[in-house]
Subunit: 297 residues, 2 copies
Amino acid sequence: MDTTQRIEAALSDALAAQQGMHGPPRLSEAMRDAVFPGGARIRPQLTLAVAQACGADDLGLAAAAGAAIELMHCASLVHDDLPCFDNALTRRGRPSVFAAHGERLAVLAGDALIVSAFQSLAAAGADLPQRLGPLLQTLAAAVGSASGIIAGQAWESEPRVALADYQRAKTGALFVAATVSGAEAAGASSAPWRALGEWLGEAYQVADDIRDVAADPDTLGKPAGQDALHGRPSSAAELGLSGAIQHFDQLIAAASASIPACRGSAQLRTLVRLQAKRLVPVELARRVAPGIARAPV
Amino acid sequence: MDTTQRIEAALSDALAAQQGMHGPPRLSEAMRDAVFPGGARIRPQLTLAVAQACGADDLGLAAAAGAAIELMHCASLVHDDLPCFDNALTRRGRPSVFAAHGERLAVLAGDALIVSAFQSLAAAGADLPQRLGPLLQTLAAAVGSASGIIAGQAWESEPRVALADYQRAKTGALFVAATVSGAEAAGASSAPWRALGEWLGEAYQVADDIRDVAADPDTLGKPAGQDALHGRPSSAAELGLSGAIQHFDQLIAAASASIPACRGSAQLRTLVRLQAKRLVPVELARRVAPGIARAPV
């Protein structure tokens, strides 16, 4: 089973465990639409890559941890698209969950995905309690109200916010959870893997800001221009497109450099490079900032 | 520390663990308003009473499990009150979370309370993994999309629903979790305690239906007449007020009779009797159904 198949299987298993035979069918459909077909699954890809780099003997727990993080990501997208937030009708090139299933089922599907994330991780780690405890706390911290993605979204309701706190919570937290969980699932020390998650989270946020300004909605799969529309902080607005692209390249270089010396480091650097190309493609950079020199990763 | 203090302390600890020093302050306030001041805390009271009846050596884990169930209950109230569901402006005699803090923070506070429930239970059970696993699965099932409270709420979006499935999920699930978790936290067999949760859940639902019709909004602390307004199934509508009160009394008698023979059975029967009096007070029954004979519990 390759990595992509492993991740999709772990996500399917997590949903199947929640749904049972006799639950409300429309809610099941809404949950499924929130999770499949997915995007690049970059967070679980990272979790598995770090677990392999740490020499994990069995990738089952890492796949479950990565899937739990992805479920949280999907839950946050479903709730972020609600009318009271972005009121977004499309997501990944298809109707958003709220547009397809209505506001009520979108609220409930998001709730149920949060539950599903904890439930599936707890089930997968039942036989490895020494690893499960840290994994559950990592997952909770990455989404929670102090510095997780829920906090990130809530900062938009505050009169004052430090841009770094906002972005670290809104985007960085799940990337840190992805790398840290990979180490925890492998029974390795997680501290050396934090920096990789932090750099990638920041790079991803900058790429998202760039694409919100520079990509067309078809490529994006969701409405463009949302940051300006909602008055959200954006590095593209702050640094200009050329500046933001150069900042992105620096962050990717820092991410790559932060990878600890280990058996799987070359493979991880390849993953980082491929993600960077996917996030800010050469053509996009040429089109919107033709003059800039981009550092090779 | 008496039971009530123990429950309030466990709830405070759970919120404190989530909030940290630097999280968004408005979200913290919204979460606090969702949990404090609480109602009767009947679910955690049950968890602790069952744990004691099962001879629990240490009530810390039972208190955490009961608090986690109460946090899920609070989360569901916050989301149920949203404009897309009940659009309720009051709850427990005060502005609902959505009325006081806006729709965005109400969505996020509900999400964060779900996270908080799992996080605090996982932390409390870290040293007792054999008990933690079942407790986490019990909590997840009680709220999940197959037969938990999220399923219960989602049944309202289905064209067809079996009344029993709906009520069992919407109200019964958390009561079953409350009694079952008490046994699990004590390291005892949970099967003998399911029936007590099921009977009490059903009784609570009937009482809720009766109060929605018969109580005034001041006593209720929330708008009355919601079931008729939202076209929800109601035993008060189905059986009439007198019939519903008699049905309630029968359910309470069945709950009391289901309590397994154990050291704490007398104490538990007292708890059931007190709750019954609180839920459908003698005066209310006299006022709305003056002729009926009520069975003593």
